[in-house]
Each structure stands twice: as structure tokens, then as C-alpha cells.
């Protein structure tokens, strides 16, 4: 309580930094093995992610869906209910926003936007409520139901765009363009960065406050750590899990909404290249810490944007970034074991030294 970080947190930050450093070194070795210069490769990647207004804008644009789905994962995992259905919730949320944007064309700008956003959040939340309810009421494993509901949502929206909502011009694997007043304004020329970044910032602040500073956040965390203890202590653990699930679903829905209102201006059959999965990785890496999710989303966003620039400039394939991401995950998964080994080694070294001193 006294200091900002506990010693466990600090240790974790050190481990995480080391993991990222080692994975970047591994990436460099792969480049060298393929006869490329890592200096050139990483140079292009960094320039692509942060070199200039346009690049930074693109990085931030990629951050929006990662952060939202990352926070969605964080709140649900922390509460001990595992929402793996973010992708499906994102698709339905996106479609709901597009539907509002196509249908209610007479609404004024502010009101229409609000309606689209609420519709997306509501649909995402409801779609998460179903597996959440099945979990708390009938103990049906939410991991399995949410994974399966992803496929249902993706295929259902793909049916919708190709049949009932196919544009008049013919099947485009997309809906009509949403009406003008639903478009979020772009912030930097040529980049897709738009005002949804401010919504995201507000949501991130709210989630941080909720998870770290409120009594409700305490309830979420304690239910996730030991639901029996929470119930014993007077928390309605089932209700708490269900709420976490719905919040999680809404956030994923919102990630979809902003893709439609800010980036594509229509619903696409393949609107997400797996944002929810990346968001989940982000949350896992930082152990569901909301501040960590924000930082790591920017980092992942930069890797994504930078890798494309790197491929264009140096013909090093952008997939290299996937390798780097995977290595980070691998290290983080083994973090505990590595840390214990290191501590033991360190201890032995120190004890050895002391014994040596005594002998001398």
C-alpha cells in the first residue's frame, strides 16, 4: 500500500523486460541467419512504427482494438471466468454498429453515434451473457462455449452480409457504407487513426479505476483468486462473474464498433484479423494488469505497424514479428521457473562467497 509497486510487481516487470529483450535478440539472430542485418531490419521496424506523424498514427490506430480486447480479457480472467469469445463478440458488435449506421440514417450525428456505440456494446455484452449464464447457473465450461460461439458469430455475420444485408450493387462480402454522420473523424491524413482513440482512452481510464481503485474491483479480483472465500465473505461470486463477463463482452463489442465507425465505415466479412486473440495475449503477458495492457497494446501495435514497413523496406518478412511475439509468450509462460532458478543460483553464489570469506 505504501509504495506504488510491490516487490512481486517489480520482479515481474524485470522478468518481462528481460523476456522482451531476449526475444528481440532472437529475432536479430534469425535475421542474421538469413543473411540480413538486424540493424537495418529493426531500424526499418522502429521507423515504421514511430518515425513521423503518419507512422505513430498507424501504431496508435492498431492499439485501439488491442487495448479494448486486452482490457476485456483482463477483467474476465481476473474475475476467474474465461472469456475466449472476444472475436465473436467483436464481430457481432461491429455488425450491430453497421446495422445502426445503415438503418437509422435520419438520426442527428451525436445521437446516432451514441446509438451505434451502445448497440455494439449491448450486443457484445449479451453475447457474452449467454455463456456466462450457462457457466454460473449450470456449470457449463465457459472456455468451450465461448470458443464455439466465436465460430457461430463469424459465420452468422458472414451470412448476413452476403444475404439479407448484401449491398444493392451485389455481394461484396461487406455491408453498404454507413451513413456520413456515423463516421468518426480521421485525425492524421492518410492514416486510419480516428477519434475512437479518445473513447479508448476514456474507457481505459474507467477500467483502470474500476479494477484497481473500487470496492467492486476488489470483489472481481477476490472472486477470481478464490471464489469460495469470496462467497464465504459475502460476495455473490456468481453475480460478480456474470458482470465481469458482460463487461468483457461489451468491450469486445466496442472494439468491433470502432473498426466500423472509425476505420472501414462498413461491416466487412473478415473485419478482424484476430484482434481479440492478440488482445488476449496482451492481457496474459501483463497478468491482467490494466496499465500493463495499455503499454503492451502500444508495443504490439508498434510491432504490427513496424513489421509491414520493415517488409516493404528490407523484404524481411513481417511474420518475423509473430516469431518475436511467440518467444515473449514462451518466456513469460516459464517466468516463474526461470525466476526461481535464478534466485537459487544467486543464493548459492552468495553463500559460496561467504563461505570463501570465512576460510580466508
Amino acid at each position: 500500500m505504501n509504495s506504488r509497486f510491490s516487490s512481486e510487481d517489480l520482479e515481474y516487470i524485470v522478468s518481462l523486460t528481460l523476456s522482451i529483450a531476449v526475444s528481440l535478440i532472437m529475432g536479430a539472430l534469425i535475421m542474421i541467419a538469413n543473411g540480413r542485418s538486424p540493424m537495418v531490419g529493426y531500424g526499418a521496424l522502429i521507423r515504421g512504427a514511430f518515425g513521423g506523424k503518419y507512422s505513430i498514427a498507424n501504431t496508435l490506430a492498431k492499439t485501439v482494438p488491442l487495448a479494448l480486447t486486452g482490457l476485456a480479457t483482463a477483467i474476465s480472467f481476473r474475475s476467474g471466468i474465461f472469456n475466449i469469445g472476444g472475436e465473436g463478440q467483436l464481430y457481432l458488435g461491429a455488425f450491430a454498429a453497421a446495422y445502426v449506421g445503415i438503418t437509422f440514417t435520419a438520426l442527428p450525428k451525436g445521437l446516432g453515434m451514441l446509438l451505434a456505440i451502445l448497440a455494439g456494446a449491448l450486443v457484445g455484452g449479451l453475447y457474452a451473457y449467454v455463456p456466462g449464464f450457462l457457466k454460473v447457473k449450470y456449470k457449463i465450461d465457459e472456455v468451450i462455449t465461448t470458443i464455439m460461439l466465436n465460430t457461430v458469430a463469424v459465420l452468422f455475420t458472414s451470412y448476413l452480409v452476403n444475404y439479407p444485408f448484401a449491398p444493392a450493387a451485389g455481394k461484396l462480402n461487406a455491408t453498404e457504407i454507413i451513413s456520413e454522420q456515423f463516421h468518426l473523424s480521421r485525425l492524421i491524413r492518410l492514416s486510419t487513426l480516428n477519434t475512437s482513440i479518445f473513447f479508448m482512452g476514456f474507457i481505459a481510464l474507467f477500467m483502470y479505476y474500476l479494477m484497481e481503485k473500487t470496492s467492486a474491483g476488489y470483489d472481481f479480483k477476490l472472486v477470481g483468486q478464490n471464489s469460495l472465500f469470496a462467497r464465504f465473505g459475502g460476495i455473490d461470486d456468481r453475480k460478480q462473474m456474470l458482470i465481469a463477463m458482460v463487461i468483457s463482452g461489451s468491450l469486445c463489442g466496442l472494439a468491433g464498433v470502432f473498426e466500423v465507425l472509425g476505420v472501414h465505415y462498413r461491416f466487412l466479412q473478415h473485419i478482424s484479423p484476430g484482434y481479440a486473440w492478440d488482445g488476449m495475449l496482451v492481457a496474459l503477458i501483463v497478468k491482467n494488469n490494466p496499465i500493463g495492457v495499455m503499454i503492451m497494446s502500444i508495443f504490439f501495435g508498434a510491432l504490427k505497424t513496424g513489421s509491414i514497413a520493415m517488409e516493404n523496406a528490407t523484404s524481411i518478412p513481417s511474420e518475423l514479428v509473430l516469431v518475436i511475439q511467440s518467444i515473449i509468450i514462451l518466456f513469460i509462460a516459464g517466468e516463474r521457473g526461470f525466476k526461481d532458478k535464478f534466485k537459487e543460483w544467486n543464493l548459492r553464489r552468495r553463500v559460496g562467497q561467504k563461505a570463501g570469506e570465512r576460510n580466508a
Binding site: M1, E8, S215, Y218, K221, F229, F232, G233, I235
Partner: protein, 517 residues
């Protein structure tokens, strides 16, 4: 007896920030029962884990039959004939008894498939040789704790152990099961020439079973005595380094107003068997009502029903005049019940949360700890945490460390601090001193009696008869989900009450026809 089998020489073990063993010396002689006692955190388990090869000592050496050896893993220990039964059993609940016993060194058919028949045969032979009766076909998950422990011992014997290390074997056992276990141990040592090292902190047990006893305190070996030269007071002093124990608890008499009444409760256990079959009693302010019984006779379910964690099928529960039939734990707490649960790790705390978070449970939505029931007021929470740590003598540098890093006794003090701080009119206290050390037991008992003297109604459920006798004003015996007797303190001996706890009085009473339902 006589020759030195294991000699521990100046062994130290350092963990980050803790010196768990500080230049410890210990001799184990062939064919003896050697008890190792000490408070929680005295380093007993660490020392045994070193002998069993789970930890490597930071300094020092171990001699086996006079020769220095290195025990790098449990495999080395097993090859030397050393076997260990851990405090927390390492059994697979969904496997049969036979499968659990042979696990790791299963008899094979064609080198690939496990030979189940052979495993059963070996289990039967083993259980005959050692006089430990088990049913090889039963699933371990469906067996009682006492039987599971028997299986752990068989497992160790199956691997060819001559030296058995038992880590707090009686912590989870009833008095009857403990007697059985001691019979088994005596048989192993006296008739079969095994050597047994037993870790415990129950002094009566040390005196009852061991030949020699070694006392540890704060990582150091205080000394080894022949048990026949020791008594409880001597051992207790060696353990805690100061005089404690057996102080008379001061009780004040108060007007006794009924605050809780239970009538005809029926409830099922997790296996859907009837665990409570028409239980009725009442509880009054300013009294401690002890529930005595062999574990598994409905105590767990009774406490769960009373605290809202389990639904009842029939019956009434009235708390301070309010009907509390099948309320949620939250509503029950609001009606005025606080609860110290029997399984503190599973129910009483979150190991991954800090001490202040654990202490906050129950008041996290209340003023002044939550502003408008929303924003956590860290300043007030910090004040309360510091106050409770101080008041309940929780040994920790700060409230910011994880509860999981506390010792068992301090975890229990933390739980008691939280539950007592609510100042509820009713307290339900289950197994309050199970697995904690003498000093902490004394502290907990005093706290409970103080609460009683302040007018709280206390229901005490304990498998430890000494505890029941020491604290209770009134005692009920529970057998197979029914109340079999009610006694005032001092009215009955431990011996007699044992009959009520095992349902054996029924025969004599039925013959006399004096017992009325």
C-alpha cells in the same frame, strides 16, 4: 535400537530472506520412533525435506550408516530406504487404491500395459504384511482422510522404505484415527524393525508414541531428550522458549439470552447423502457451545448450513428471532454471524491477495473503507490493517505482503482478526487451532473466551476433544448427522463422551430404555 542410522551434521538451509535451518544436528537411531517437535516455522519440515532429498542443504553434511552421502533427489532417498508421507497427501483421487500404491513403479504386462491384477495382488500382500487394511478396488477420492493416510504409508512401504518420515500425520485425524495410526507405527517399529521419524506439535502425542524427541525452535535444534525423561511442560518450554500453556481461562457468567435456534435441520453432503438428519439445538449469548464428534459426522455440513454456504432440505434456522431459512452467506452475515472456517486455505483466505486485502473482506463496501460504497479509502484501510495486525499479534513486517507467505498460525490469526473485528453477536468457530503451534493455540483460546465474556454466542466445532473440554460451557455430541447427547461442562469425562461420539452408548441406553428422542 542403538546404532546411528542417519546423522545430520551442522546442516543449514537458506531460502531467500529466511534461514530455515541453522546448523542443525540430529541423530536417528535404527529401530526408534523419533519425534521432532517445534512451532510452525521452526524448520521441522525443511529438515525432513532435506533428508528426503527435496531440498539440498546450503551447508553441512548428512551421514548414512556412518558414511557421508549426498541426497540429491527423493529417488536417492528411496534408494537408501527413506520414505516420506507428506502433510498434504499426494494421491490421485480418481484412481483406485491399488493404482495409487504402485504408481511410478507399476507392474507391467508386455512392458507397456499396467498389470492391474498384479497391482491388486501386491496391494493385498502389502496390506496383510503390515496389517493395514485397505480395499484395493476403491477409488481414493471416496475414502476418509484416515484411510488415505494409510494408503500413503503403504505407498512408501511398497517402495521398500525402512525409514519412514511422517510429516504431521495426525493433523487431519480424529482421536480414534490417531490411535489406529499409533498402533500401526508401533507395529512397524517393534515387529518389523522399521525406523519412524514423526513430525508433530502435539505434545501428548509425542509422549504417547516416541522413544526420543528432538525439539526445534526458530531453525535451530534446541535439544534431544529421551521421552521417558520429558513431560509436557518441559517440551512446551523448549519449543517456545518461555513458559506458556495450561493457564486457567477466566470465565464470567452472563445472562443468557437465546440468539440462535436450529430445529430439525436436514441437509445432504456433496455426495448427496443425508449428512444432517434432524439436528436441533439453541445457542445463547455469552456461552460457548462445543460440538464434539468424529469428523465426517455432519460437522462440516452443519457449519455450512448455519453460514449459508449449504442449502438445507428441511428445518428452521432462526437468528436473533429472524427466520434465516436458506439465506445467502451475505444475508447471514448481515443477520449477525461471523465464521472462522475449518479449511482456512480453501475458504478462509486468498493466498494470492495481500494481508490488507484479506482483512478487508466483508467491509469492502462499507464506510469509511469505501467512500459512497465505491471508492476504496486506502488511508482508512491501512489504519484498520495496522490496528488488527497489532491487536491480534499477526507476525508480519507489513500488511502489504501476500497472505500465502504467512505461517499457518499467523494465517489463522489473520482470519480470526477479521471475523472478530465485525463484533457480531454470534460466532461460528470451526477447528480454530488445527495445525497451529502451541503459542498460537493459547492466543486463539484466550481470544475466544474473551469474546464469550463480552457476551458473544459462540458455536465451537472441533475434532480436538481437549479443546472442546477446555473452552465449552455446554457440549453436544454429533454422530451420523444426529445429536446424540447434551452435557454441561464438567458433567462428563472424555472417555464417556467418546461413546456418544461413536454412537456406542445407544446399545446400553436402548437396553435400559432411558433414552428419549
Amino acid at each position: 535400537m542403538g546404532d546411528k542410522l542417519i546423522q545430520v551434521r551442522n546442516v543449514s538451509k537458506r531460502f531467500p530472506g529466511v534461514l530455515a535451518n541453522d546448523r542443525v544436528n540430529l541423530d536417528i537411531e535404527r529401530g526408534e520412533i523419533h519425534a521432532i517437535i517445534g512451532e510452525n516455522g521452526a524448520g521441522k519440515s525443511t529438515l525432513m525435506n532435506i533428508i528426503y532429498g527435496l531440498y539440498e542443504p546450503t551447508e553441512g553434511e548428512i551421514l548414512f550408516e556412518g558414511k557421508p552421502i549426498e541426497i540429491k533427489s527423493p529417488l536417492d532417498a528411496i534408494n537408501l530406504g527413506i520414505g516420506m508421507v507428506h502433510q498434504h497427501f499426494m494421491l490421485l483421487p480418481s484412481f483406485t487404491v491399488a493404482e495409487n500404491i504402485v504408481l511410478g513403479t507399476e507392474p507391467r504386462r508386455n512392458r507397456i500395459f499396467m498389470d492391474f491384477k498384479e497391482a491388486v495382488l501386491e496391494t493385498q500382500q502389502l496390506s496383510e504384511t503390515y496389517g493395514l487394511r485397505v480395499d484395493p478396488y476403491r477409488k481414493v477420492g471416496s475414502l476418509s482422510v484416515g484411510i488415505q493416510q494409510r494408503i500413503e504409508i503403504l505407498k512408501v512401504l511398497y517402495k521398500g522404505a525402512d525409514i519412514l518420515i511422517l510429516d504431521e500425520p495426525t493433523a487431519v485425524l480424529t482421536p480414534q484415527e490417531t490411535e489406529d495410526l499409533f498402533g500401526v507405527i508401533r507395529n512397524l517399529v517393534e515387529d518389523l524393525g522399521k525406523t519412524v521419524i514423526i513430525i508433530t506439535h502435539k505434545l501428548q502425542e509425542v509422549l504417547a508414541i516416541s522413544h526420543r524427541v528432538s525439539v526445534m525452535r526458530q531453525g535451530k535444534m534446541v535439544g534431544t531428550l529421551n521421552t521417558k525423561d520429558a513431560d509436557e511442560r518441559v517440551l512446551a518450554e523448549m519449543m517456545v522458549g518461555r513458559e506458556v500453556l495450561f493457564e486457567e481461562l477466566h470465565k464470567v457468567e452472563l445472562p443468557k439470552e437465546e440468539v440462535l435456534s436450529v430445529d430439525g435441520i436436514r441437509a445432504r453432503d456433496n455426495r448427496h447423502l443425508m449428512a444432517l438428519d434432524g439436528v436441533s439445538f439453541n445457542l445463547r449469548a455469552g456461552e460457548i457451545l462445543g460440538i464434539a464428534g468424529v469428523e465426517g459426522n455432519g460437522q462440516t455440513e452443519l457449519v455450512e448450513v448455519l453460514t449459508g454456504l449449504r442449502k438445507m432440505e428441511e428445518g428452521t434456522l432462526t437468528i436473533k428471532g429472524v427466520d434465516a431459512f436458506n439465506r445467502t452467506p451475505r444475508e447471514i452475515r448481515k443477520l449477525g454471524i461471523a465464521h472462522i472456517p475449518e479449511d482456512r486455505l480453501a475458504t478462509g483466505l486468498s493466498r494470492e491477495a495481500t494481508i490488507w486485502e484479506n482483512l478487508l473482506m466483508g467491509v469492502q463496501h462499507m464506510e469509511p473503507y469505501a467512500i459512497w460504497g465505491i471508492h476504496m479509502n486506502k488511508g482508512k484501510i491501512r489504519e484498520r490493517t495496522a490496528r488488527l495486525i497489532e491487536e491480534f499479534d499477526i507476525r508480519t513486517p507489513t500488511g502489504d505482503i501476500l497472505a500465502g507467505s504467512l505461517s499457518g498460525g499467523n494465517m489463522q490469526k489473520m482470519i480470526i482478526a477479521r471475523e472478530f473485528s465485525f463484533n457480531t453477536p454470534i460466532l461460528i468457530v470451526a477447528q480454530p487451532t488445527r495445525g497451529i503451534d502451541v503459542g498460537a493455540i493459547e492466543f486463539v483460546h484466550k481470544q475466544i473466551v474473551e469474546k464469550r465474556n463480552a457476551g458473544t454466542a459462540i458455536l465451537l466445532v472441533s475434532a480436538d476433544l481437549d479443546e472442546i473440554f477446555r473452552l465449552s460451557d455446554r457440549i453436544l455430541t454429533l454422530y451420523e448427522g444426529r445429536i446424540t447427547g447434551e452435557f454441561l461442562s464438567g458433567e462428563i469425562s472424555k472417555r464417556e463422551i467418546g461413546l456418544y461420539m461413536t454412537g456406542k452408548h445407544m446399545d446400553s441406553i436402548e437396553r435400559g430404555g432411558a433414552y428419549e428422542q
